[in-house]
């Protein structure tokens, strides 16, 4: 198991072999996802790729150059890339009890996979923020924290 920790104390845990630094990012998202009517309620290859690699840019460090579609991201080598002004999402692993309410509220940003782990987007898209906030409000264990972009 490999974890990336950042200074906020958040850990994003990836299944072995799927650390972004270990694995090239899959060029195409597995076909099951975009075609199924409700991607989060199917049993596709949920436990094989962290959510950030399934949709867009998730604020987790990646090997190589930052993707072209994040022009505002501050490029700093060896650091997490963040877009300014977007809240950082973190889930307290010690509290989360996998009730998956967050997944019901914001299926594009949270995923309780079959391996019994929660995958989540640490920097959800602006269009997702309303849902992410609702997920944070309704989380039974109040494990989801949104905090403004530091610095």
């Amino acid at each position: 198991m490999v974890s990336i920790g950042d200074e906020t104390g958040v850990t994003v845990t990836f299944p072995k072999g799927f650390h972004p630094a270990e694995q090239p990012i899959p060029a195409a998202v597995p076909a099951v996802f975009p075609t199924s009517p409700n991607p989060m309620r199917t049993t596709g290859p949920l436990d094989v790729a962290p959510l950030v690699d399934l949709g867009g840019y998730g604020g987790v460090a990646r090997a190589g150059r930052p993707p072209a579609f994040t022009p505002n991201a501050r490029r700093r080598r060896g650091r997490l890339l963040r877009r300014p002004g977007r809240p950082q999402v973190s889930v307290d692993n010690n509290r989360c009890r996998l009730y998956a309410i967050c997944q019901m509220e914001a299926p594009a940003s949270f995923l309780v996979a079959r391996d019994g782990r929660l995958y989540y987007d640490t920097a959800p898209a602006t269009t997702e923020l309303t849902r992410v906030r609702q997920a944070a409000r309704l989380c039974p264990m109040q494990a989801i924290a949104l905090r403004a972009e530091p610095r």
């Binding site: 009890r97 009730y99 309410i101 019901m104 079959r114 019994g116 949104l146």
Partner: protein
């Protein structure tokens, strides 16, 4: 020059005055009950751009906090007081009248009646007073050794009593709160006796079959289960002489089967009653909670005539409304997630009015954790006539059970099931038979426990 200037200044002053006079008056929304539903209503009002004033009238001396850890983490001493904080993502800019109990409501004049004869005018009123713990007839709740658990004051009192040293606590009531308290106290190494009327734990909420499985979990964790029994007489160490218990016994409970139970303290968790006494005589229909339309607006009843009040909405545990997703019968729901959503919907309903507001049709969702077993439910399993195992293994305590009423799915309960439950949430309101693949996986009812 000079006369002209004076004219000009005067004209400016007139313009200012006219502008002030023609400005629409600042509207005022009063929220009665500073709980989760009230908080979410205020937040939603601001999110929708409401720029009038918001006044909270709350009985407790605290701003809204999360009640759900009171019986779990807080009682088990695995959590801290800061866990009760609730996040708010909008500046509320509200006036907090805490420690103030609403005493009455004058619908015709749109006034809330407060202590000392104070009247508070409102343009919109959100009723979110929640429920209060039901009193068990005969139980000496005034005693230092007998507690119920609804708010922070109760939790504090109980934990103060526990800190004085207890070895054995009797719990009356086998609903969610009673069972959670049992689990939390066992975690602290305290002996627990659980007294209940029914034969299975939490049966009214999750049905007898899953209830029986949970009964087994409690028994395995050495909870002394006294099921099918009722307390008939009480004595405590601080009772008047005739009922006083011998030294060293905090509470003595006589049960209706003739037995007697001695404990150091007792917790009473026999359900809740909606906090509607203050609405008596207001004209609102308050039989078992504040009756509202499907869109959260209050309903007045005079004789047989009924009417909708556009300026009054109710949300949370106190409201009784028809959830059209399930059926048209008005019911109360006492779930925390639903209360949050209800507050938001009520705020929208207040802004939109009864004509435009959509019906509030949430999927009721609840959770509880006892002895490490995570139970999670959607819909209204309590309404079901049949309970079927949908997948998993009850023996391993990892399963999903489906609840049917007249062949239609009304709820599902997952036990340590995580996201597997979500599939069944989509089925609510549907008859089970158009899903042959699901029928195929139903091996029959959950076996009853020995």
């Amino acid at each position: 020059m000079r006369p002209y200037r004076t004219e000009f200044t005067r004209a400016l002053v007139d313009v200012g005055r006219a502008r002030r006079q023609h400005q629409p008056p600042r509207r005022q929304v009063v929220i009665v009950g500073a709980g989760i539903a009230g908080l979410r209503a205020a937040e939603r009002l601001r999110e929708r751009g409401f720029d009038g004033s918001i006044v909270f009238v709350g009985d407790e001396p605290h701003k809204p906090y999360n009640r759900t850890p009171l019986s779990k983490q807080l009682l088990a001493q695995t959590g801290r007081l800061t866990d009760l904080r609730l996040p708010v993502y909008r500046e509320l800019d509200a006036l907090w009248r805490l420690g103030t109990r609403a005493l009455g409501l004058d619908l015709a004049r749109q006034r809330l009646l407060l202590p000392r004869g104070e009247e508070l005018a409102y343009d919109g009123l959100v009723i979110a007073t929640g429920v209060e713990a039901r009193h068990l007839p005969g139980a000496p709740l005034w005693s230092e050794h007998v507690w119920s658990l609804r708010d922070l004051a109760d939790a504090r009192g109980l934990s103060r009593r526990l800190a004085l040293g207890v070895r054995h606590v009797a719990i009356v009531g086998t609903g969610f709160i009673g069972c959670e308290v049992a689990s939390s106290l066992r975690k602290r190494g305290i002996e627990v006796s659980l007294i209940g009327r029914g034969k299975a734990l939490m049966a009214s909420a999750i049905g007898g079959k899953v209830g029986t499985l949970m009964t087994r979990v409690h028994r395995r964790n050495h909870v002394n289960l006294l099921l099918g029994r009722n307390p008939v007489r009480w004595g405590t160490a601080d009772s008047p002489a005739s009922d006083r218990t011998p030294a060293g016994v905090g509470v003595r409970i006589w049960l209706d089967d003739g037995s007697r139970l001695d404990a150091d303290a007792a917790v009473i968790a026999v359900g809740a009653l909606p906090a509607v006494r203050w609405l008596l005589g207001s004209g609102l229909d308050i039989s078992d909670g504040v009756l509202t339309t499907a869109s959260c607006h209050g309903v007045v009843r005079e004789g047989t005539a009924t009417g909708v009040v556009p300026s009054v909405v109710a949300a949370g545990d106190v409201a009784r409304w028809p959830n059209l997703m399930i059926d048209a019968t008005p019911r109360r729901v006492e779930h925390w997630i639903t209360a949050s959503e209800h507050g938001q919907a009520a705020a929208d309903a207040l802004l939109l009015g009864p004509g435009q507001a959509p019906p509030f049709t949430p999927l009721p969702r609840f959770w509880t954790e006892q002895f490490g077993v995570r139970l999670q439910g959607v819909g209204r399993p309590g309404l079901a006539d049949t309970c079927r195992l949908a997948e998993g293994s009850p023996r391993a305590l990892e399963f999903v059970a489906c609840y049917l009423r007249a062949g239609t799915v009304v709820g599902a309960v997952g036990c340590n099931a995580g996201a597997r439950l979500l599939e069944y949430a989509d089925l609510i309101g549907l008859p089970l038979h158009p899903r042959p693949e699901l029928i195929g996986s139903l091996p029959g009812p959950v076996p009853a426990a020995a």
